[in-house]
Symmetry: C2
Subunit: 353 residues, 2 copies
């Protein structure tokens, strides 16, 4: 090893999920949306100009921020945008979790939380989920340097009720509490805690265009919170990279936000498919956690999840499997189109027959 | 102040340069390219598909990395890509400057170096340029945690000869040395130190699509170096955000690399315009530092630079002015088209008459 390597930050390299290109595959492993983005998004592509590509994009991302503020009925000063919610949450970690106290998040949760904490040298504690895979507010009533959890949680797909989140917020006025709402657009009307922001200045809510807006390929995420939170994050962002959102993300993102009818229609379709698919899984004898996301988390005693995973793969159906204590007999299955899920049901029926 | 604010990372907020939208403006303040991107880039926009936007982009960015490796006649394992060279360099800081020793960079240089170091809590020392604004290799022969400088330097536009860079590399086998070649495509054939990479495993060279490739709006930067360096950077990148380059950047970036004839033609045009413009400035009595970039750094005793800056602005001509010791009587003027620069010369002639 050369001496310059002493100064290298050593990290546990994260291996991103597979992105096979074969069009014959039913790809239900990364929680992408099976429907295309709004036709207005595709049309906006024609409006990206030479001038727009030649010049630096607007570093303040004001068109996109204004559109989101408008949509959520908040002020533009309450909105932060970034390159996917990964960028938004990483920036929030860097901004708000700058202490020696441990941050808290569920032991079964989005795997990137511990990766970011490790990389940024933030101490952390994984708080075990209850036996029924729920988050217990009680467990978050101790000293901490910050709190984050997805709601609905991933990969469990389970939603924490607003009363429970209030309990966590009430117990933690001295920490920033981040609720990662990547999947909340599939959770029904009153699931989001956006309406609690006026009450809790330490509550940050994050969202993404990758799931409900069918735009994983564009990389757009955002956060909504008190003006002070957003200002602190923007200061850190401008100190890291002023121009992160490219011209196409900014232009196309705005169009996605504008086309609310299409957005609602596709979200409803996925929720509907999820409910039908869940019924079919139950009929096949699966244990299915109650899902409020665009995926289900399910397993059966009839065959190990790892085996179903492997067999599905042989049949060009991609699920997600986590070889992790307590969840190693579950599969995370993204909700595709009705046709996709019918094919999955037929496959499982044959497999378990 | 609320208690949660104790845990907030406090940074010196960086204020990005102005991006006025008025089309009547001659915008020579951010070193953008006056020519549009290659027609092949614009054409590739038509090939971005619904499927490409709906799904996550290729996290390994292999098409773009392969195109760049091919172009520079290196292996794909020698190339790292990111969201502009700001992202690439910030990732390099995070990866390689993880020690308690001070990193070194010139006092007059890209202003983001000290911003990144401050934000990441990396100790640093600004090494004064010599009186003639050159970088002296002698000054970089002391203990350090890493070295970075742009070549050509910004905002001086001056190129450091390869022999001098070799001297710095020979004296620092135990540090990573980053040569930020954002402007090197305007510096002539033998200016780049890419050819030194096989000799120095600790040399990282960074580049951008924002200047010579007319694609500031897309946000693409890259680094070339020893396989080990690139692997360390990729590990950190995947630990931060696996999907940073969006589908349009990946697709359009490849086309830009392929159209080498257009690239060379526009770079040559800018160099030619720069030489003519420099002659005109000299005729007007300006002191012009010898430029090998797509901008010149110039001032005159006839009028303070700050005043020329303000008057130009009133006349819809935007330059860049730095109210900084030693360079506060200079203006950084981006090279535009011949027509742009003729208008600038007429303006300066009238102003100083």
């Amino acid at each position: 090893m050369s001496k310059w390597e002493d100064n290298v930050r050593k990290v546990e390299p994260y291996v991103p999920g597979e992105q096979p290109n074969d069009t014959n595959i039913i790809k239900l492993n990364t929680n992408e949306n099976p429907y295309p983005p709004s036709p207005m998004v595709m049309k906006a592509m024609q409006e990206v100009t030479e001038e727009g590509l030649r010049k630096y994009p607007d570093p303040t991302c004001s068109a996109l921020i204004d559109a989101l503020a408008d949509y959520h009925k908040v002020n533009s000063a309450n909105v932060f945008v970034g390159v996917g919610s990964d960028d938004v949450i990483a920036t929030a970690f860097m901004t708000f979790f700058h202490s020696d106290k441990k941050i808290l998040f569920p032991d079964i949760s989005y795997s990137f939380y511990s990766v970011w904490a490790s990389m940024m040298e933030i101490p952390f504690e994984k708080v075990p989920l209850a036996d029924d895979f729920t988050i217990s507010p009680e467990d978050y009533k101790k000293e901490n340097g910050g709190i984050i959890f997805p709601n609905p949680n991933a990969p469990t797909a389970m939603l924490l009720e607003k009363g429970a989140i209030r309990e966590i917020l009430d117990a933690n006025p001295d920490s920033v509490v981040i609720v990662d709402e990547a999947y909340v657009d599939f959770s029904g009307e009153d699931a989001s805690v956006l309406d609690l922001i006026p009450e809790y200045e330490n509550l940050l809510v994050t969202r993404t265009f990758s799931k409900s807006r069918s735009l994983a390929g564009l990389r757009i995420g955002y956060a909504i919170g008190n003006e002070k939170l957003i200002k602190y994050m923007s200061d850190v962002k401008y100190s890291y990279n002023s121009y992160t959102m490219n011209e196409t993300s900014l232009k196309l993102g705005v169009e996605s936000v504008k086309d609310d009818a299409y957005f609602k229609k596709t979200c409803d379709a996925i929720v509907n498919t999820r409910e039908n698919f869940t019924k079919e899984l139950l009929k096949l004898g699966f244990n299915v956690l109650p899902s409020k996301a665009n995926f289900v988390f399910a397993g059966t005693d009839k065959m190990p999840a790892s085996e179903i995973f492997a067999k599905a793969r042989e049949n060009h159906i991609f699920f997600r499997y986590f070889a992790q204590n307590r969840i190693d007999n579950f599969l995370r299955i993204t909700i595709g189109t009705d046709e996709d899920m019918e094919r999955v049901v037929r496959f499982l029926k044959d497999l378990l027959a």
